[in-house]
């Protein structure tokens, strides 16, 4: 008798349960569901804004519900998680070499976080939060 290699198929619908790494990856990927849903909310908000003050006020008032709070919490968690994974990976996509050495990953992602925080505060400030 001779060769009879055993081919093991990857189960297409459940593979990500096999390793924690895969679960982490999938959780990063499914943040997009919440982000997408939130974008839909933004589009609706724009429509209301275009429809006049009454419609817009109603829209803002409509946000005030328990469901909406839960949804916002999920969207916030998803978008922050997305941001963290994104900043953590930019040094891979766009490494910066100065002379012989590469800028440390921590420095690049750190710089991103700083810009992020500043930007967020500016926006919050412009929105009159403080």
């Amino acid at each position: 008798m001779s060769r009879r290699p055993l081919v093991r198929e990857v189960p297409p619908t459940s593979w990500y349960f096999h390793r924690p790494t895969y679960l982490r990856y999938m959780s990063r990927e499914i943040t997009c569901i919440f982000v997408a849903a939130y974008c839909v909310l933004l589009v609706v908000g724009l429509q209301r804004l275009a429809a006049g003050p009454a419609a817009y006020e109603a829209f803002l008032l409509g946000l005030k519900s328990a469901d909406s709070i839960v949804f916002h919490l999920l969207a916030l968690a998803a978008s922050v998680y997305h941001a963290a994974t994104w900043f953590g990976a930019t040094h891979k996509a766009m490494p910066i070499q100065i002379g012989e050495n590469f800028v440390q990953p921590g420095v690049i992602s750190g710089a991103h976080y700083v810009v992020w925080l500043v930007l967020s505060f500016v926006i919050l400030y412009l929105a009159g939060v403080f």
Binding site: L6, R19, T21, A93
Partner: protein, 251 residues
């Protein structure tokens, strides 16, 4: 002389022999080993003293030849660089590298990987040819460092076993081969990027990668294939823009 501490080791090894088996099954071995040993040492002891019919590949015992990749408790690892002390008190499950056909026991068939390596043209396609008598191509340390990390790949295929996209879509050229293309693309002596793009920029090339990152996590040589692939996605995208959106850009 301080005596060496010993560990009781339990291995659960996937066995498959095409001559006698229709399916793979686990076999358990128990033995006592010095605590500083690696999984490969334990396997070698099993083969020499318990079961000579157990088969696996190894050679260097110093994590450089790339022969001894296996799934250890579900994670792709070099068995010569996986320490028993990290698994104290547990059963260590040893399986052949995932995503490759099992030839026998822990021996897999790497044909697909070997074929893909070749496809990316992993050799210098010189920018300008020059005879040996004219000496070396000058390359500054900075130019060297640009690609050095990507030249460290030992072809152990752990990244292929780690990458789910390769498992799901076996036509994917995969992390190590693509990274090797990137290594030559980044080399100041090389002028072959355009040729390699014919493979790199296809569907089966970088675009099959969804940046899972498991390849880089698994890589024992710290090559970071995930980063190479991300960089190639960016350069390939720029290529596309130049070719399609800039008049005369596809020359």
């Amino acid at each position: 002389m301080t005596p060496m501490k010993e560990l009781r080791v339990q291995l659960e090894v996937l066995r498959y022999n095409p001559d006698t088996d229709t399916e793979a099954h686990f076999q358990r071995y128990e033995l006592t080993c010095p605590e500083e040993w690696v999984v490969l040492d334990a396997l070698n002891t099993v083969k020499a003293e318990i079961d000579p019919t157990l088969n696996y590949r190894w050679s260097c015992h110093m994590a450089v030849c790339g022969s001894c990749g296996m799934m250890i408790n579900g994670t792709p690892k070099l068995s010569c660089h996986t320490f028993l002390r990290d698994y104290e008190g547990t059963v260590i499950r040893v399986e052949p590298l995932a995503h490759f056909p099992i030839e026998r026991d822990l021996v897999t068939a790497p044909d697909d990987f070997m074929e893909k390596l070749k496809r990316v043209k992993p050799y210098i396609i010189p920018k300008e040819k020059k005879p040996i008598s004219e000496g070396e191509y000058k390359q500054t340390p900075a130019q060297l460092m640009k690609f050095r990390q990507y030249s460290m790949c030992i072809n152990c295929m752990l990244c292929y076993a780690a990458c789910p996209e390769y498992g799901l879509t076996p036509s994917f050229i995969g992390p190590a081969a693509l990274t090797l293309a990137h290594r030559y693309n980044l080399d100041s002596r090389d002028g072959g990027r355009k040729e390699r793009q014919e493979v790199v920029a296809t569907h089966e090339g970088v675009w099959e990668c969804t940046f899972v990152g498991a390849c880089s996590e698994a890589c024992p040589a710290h090559v970071d294939p995930a980063s190479a692939l991300q960089q190639m996605k960016i350069t390939s995208s720029i290529d596309w823009i130049v070719e399609h959106l800039i008049p005369g850009g596809n020359k």
